[in-house]
């Protein structure tokens, strides 16, 4: 009864075209944003100050859970645009994330290239020469990473005109394997370091340290300032929230309609004047833009240092596809729900299984936890797909419909 549309009328199309049809939804969203932006950081800060929580636990929540969740949400949004809205299955998500990460890295170090020459003694002298001034603004880096990835995504989207369905899905693996190979083979990408590992240099935003550390003189003493987990979290959160709105706007407007038309019936879509190649490529571009940003965020905020071939391997692609499907294809909310499910369930199982085993007096070692976790996770996915193939977003909707009537039967 608290969740009813009764009494809410719209007198203009502008209002009727709004994102939320119901006041309750709108309030709910503002509430969630308030919690995410204010209650969480302030609350955790106060809890640590008040001694209710260890500082390391706060770090853990931010660094291992919230940031990962935000990165995954961004990637899931991206893939959902391509797969959920435009109907093109892609298994190359991780590789596109990798493109984003390496782009961010290259721009943050000024697009170095190497000059090698031999000196008189026959020793090789190599020197890195920057092509551009290094960029130290993380948000700018994330956006550039998105744009470059969009271009790469378009290139690998080209076969989608001819190849459809699962054949396309497998064909996108070509992008996955090729790009990942580049991450470990094209020396320019990782500034020629022998291990092909990249590490983001120190970055700052509005004077706040975001990555690396900074040593300053304060009261005549050297003080090293480390990035606060809150800073990273709030930047990531802002990016994700903003681009979730962008995604929502795209999919509810003409672009989204064109995508969905291609998804639902591409022949009919063509006959009403939708250009299939342009529309699909736009979806690849936008999707890759999001995935690229996710990759850059993963490097800058979450991992800091990574090895391309390992961090963006094919299992990550599958994980993101899982998020999208479990969350609900063609749903922005679903992308978040799916990312939360896939990110949090394994962590939850890992943490809770030993405790649970302890309750029953069964010692559960780490390997056993991992095995059981995999089994439960696999089984959960199957059960879930059987019970609600349309995903968490659909469950959410059903829940809302129930709530609409509750507590009355009609």
């Amino acid at each position: 009864m608290f969740y009813r549309e009764a009494g809410q009328f719209y007198t203009s199309y502008a209002k009727d075209q709004g994102i939320f049809q119901l006041k309750q939804d709108k309030f709910g969203l503002w509430g969630i944003l308030f919690i995410a932006f204010v209650v969480v950081p302030v609350g955790l800060y106060l809890m640590v100050q008040g001694g209710l929580m260890a500082a390391s636990t706060k770090d853990y929540l931010y660094n291992s859970i919230f940031l990962l969740l935000l990165v995954n949400s961004m990637a899931a949004l991206g893939l959902n645009i391509l797969t959920g809205y435009c109907g093109q299955i892609s298994l190359g998500t991780a590789a596109f994330m990798g493109v984003g990460a390496f782009t961010a890295y290259k721009f943050s170090t000024g697009l170095n290239y190497r000059i090698q020459k031999e000196d008189e003694a026959g020793e090789l002298i190599s020197q890195l020469v920057p092509m551009l001034p290094p960029i130290d603004n993380p948000i700018l880096l994330v956006l550039i990473a998105g744009l470059v990835t969009a271009v790469v995504g378009v290139i690998f989207g080209l076969p989608s005109l001819r190849i459809k369905g699962f054949y396309l899905a497998v064909a996108t693996l070509a992008a996955q394997f090729f790009l990942v190979w580049c991450f470990s083979r094209v020396e320019w990408l990782y500034d020629y370091v022998s291990s092909s590992t990249i590490q983001i240099p120190p970055l700052k935003l509005f004077g706040l340290v975001v990555t690396g550390s900074e040593t300053v003189m304060r009261d005549g003493q050297e003080v090293t300032i480390y990035p606060a987990a809150e800073t990273k979290y709030l930047i990531c959160l802002s990016l994700v929230v903003f681009f979730a709105f962008v995604a929502k706007n795209m999919v509810r407007g003409r672009i989204g309609r064109a995508w969905m038309a291609i998804r639902d019936m591409d022949i009919a879509a063509q006959l009403i004047g939708i250009r299939p190649l342009a529309t699909k490529l736009l979806a690849f571009a936008v999707s890759s833009f999001f995935c690229g940003m996710a990759g850059a965020m993963s490097l800058i905020f979450y991992l800091g240092a990574l090895e391309g071939a390992e961090a963006f391997n094919i299992n990550e692609s599958f994980a993101v596809l899982f998020m999208v499907i479990i969350g609900g294809l063609g749903s922005i909310t679903g992308s978040f729900l799916g990312a939360a499910f896939i990110t949090l369930i394994p962590i939850f199982l890992v943490v809770s299984l030993p405790w649970l085993g302890g309750q029953f007096g069964i010692p559960v070692d780490a390997a056993m936890v991992e095995h059981i976790q995999f089994m439960i996770f696999g089984a959960l996915i199957i059960i879930f797909l059987i019970m609600e193939p349309l995903g968490l977003a659909r469950l959410w909707q059903i829940g809302k419909e129930r709530l609409r009537q509750w507590p009355f039967p009609y």
Partner: protein
């Protein structure tokens, strides 16, 4: 978009199940997180390594009641050799009193290095990880004790030179490196290339992608190039397949040398007799014929207090290496206890202990490992401890040491390390410490 609520709920649930309470370190225990991979593609190597550490800690507790009266507690966290899981483990466990971590994965090591000085947690990478982190001036918190990949590569070249009858004979010889296409596998390339320029041998680089189940093309190229020596820098199933393929094409096994991670029982046993004669690097002796190892078997396993099914690993190469890892940690702890006059050691004290780690030959003997390893001594600038390298050979049943301790070409490797570390320092605004 109600997800944040859900997230929080779940996070709260996670927190409730065991991590929320401020970490209270029990007054008389020293906590060690162990990053293990007992599952996944590298599990066969991960299990004995993890057991080696755990068994030694267990032994110290059972036999000596801990280190300096402080009981050791350890907690395993499964990473599956996956960096993201490793990060999650690290963040989850670091607040529980962690002073030192053993990432057991090059990828996780790279990720943790930038965090180390903020979190006051040392990173001890025994024979893996980031080689240039041996420069203690730039990487005060990272320890590559007792030796590194670059040192090992130079030692291999020295060994090959000796086998060929002198370093001068290397000119014109062909050496092929078959490596795991990852940060780990690529580590020796720079060193080998530099030495190739100096010594005039021809180096062929052959990369093998994870997991390395299929190496036909690689070994066809070996057939074509017909190198005099093959160096194998593999991990997991790649090792077994490489050894098998080598015998298949009739390559002489005693001219194939594996990195120390390619020279364990797990790598050679599945290939049967094929591996007979295969050589691999190591930095400690093989086998269980040492008083300490026998004692561990007795105190831990014969008393039924060991890891179920773990006794078969005792004395294996990777198990021994895990034990060495644990010994470094306990010795550093012991040193720190003595220096600071404390029982439970904190992060900075542990770092001091590792930096001043000094295990002399007498100390090895005292530990019950006489002749097991060369003395190890770290300094402020040098976190590698200059450990020499051994060559071991598989005789079809067990590994035998077939060389003396070969000291690496320090004059070549150390400048490389310093140069690389300096570049890192510059990029990351780090002012190197004065040593």
């Amino acid at each position: 978009m109600r997800l944040k609520g859900l997230t929080l709920g779940l996070a709260a649930a996670v927190a409730a199940t065991g991590i929320a309470a401020p970490a209270v370190q029990a007054a008389d225990t020293q906590y060690f997180p162990l990053f293990t991979y007992r599952t996944g593609p590298y599990a066969p190597n991960g299990i004995p390594s993890a057991n080696g550490i755990a068994d030694y800690f267990n032994y110290v507790n059972l036999k000596h009641g801990g280190v300096g009266g402080v009981k050791l507690v350890w907690e395993e966290c499964e990473t599956g050799y996956n960096t993201k899981k490793g990060v999650e483990c690290y963040e989850r466990l670091k607040g529980k009193g962690t002073t030192v971590v053993f990432p057991y994965s090059t990828g996780i090591t790279y990720k943790l290095i930038p965090n180390a000085d903020k979190d006051k947690v040392s990173i001890l990478t025994v024979g893996y990880g980031r080689t240039d982190a041996s420069d203690g001036r730039v990487f005060p918190w990272t320890f590559t004790t007792p030796t590194t990949y670059w040192s090992q590569a130079s030692a291999f070249i020295k060994y090959i030179g000796a086998q060929e009858g002198g370093m001068g004979k290397l000119k014109g010889k062909k050496i092929a490196l078959i490596y795991h296409n990852s940060a780990y596998g690529k580590e020796p390339i720079r060193t080998l290339e530099l030495l190739a320029r100096k010594l005039g041998y021809k180096l062929t680089l052959l990369a093998v992608n994870h997991p390395g189940q299929e190496q036909k093309a690689t070994w066809l190229q070996i057939r074509r190039e017909r190198p005099d020596w093959v160096l194998l820098w593999g991990w997991g199933v790649m090792n077994q397949v490489a050894i098998k393929e080598a015998t298949n094409i009739g390559f002489k096994m005693d001219r194939m040398i594996g990195v120390w991670w390619s020279g364990a029982e797990q790598d050679v046993v599945p290939t049967g007799d094929a591996a007979k004669g295969y050589k691999a690097g190591t930095f400690h002796a093989a086998g269980s014929d040492f008083p300490l190892i026998k004692d561990i078997k007795k105190v831990v396993y014969d008393a039924g207090k060991g890891i179920p099914g773990g006794d078969k690993y005792v004395g294996q190469v990777l198990w021994n290496r895990g034990m060495v890892n644990a010994i470094f940690a306990t010795e550093a702890m012991r040193a720190a206890q003595k220096k600071f006059g404390v029982k439970v050691v904190n992060g900075e004290q542990m770092r001091w202990g590792l930096e001043n780690l000094n295990i002399t030959a007498e100390r090895w003997a005292e530990l019950g490992l006489k002749g097991f390893m060369q003395p190890v001594k770290n300094t402020c600038a040098d976190h590698e401890g200059n450990g020499p390298v051994l060559i071991q050979q598989w005789d079809g049943k067990k590994w035998n040491i077939v060389s003396d301790f070969i000291s690496p070409m320090r004059e070549v490797v150390r400048p490389l390390i310093e140069k690389s570390a300096a570049a890192y320092a510059k990029k990351n605004n780090i002012t190197p410490r004065k040593c």
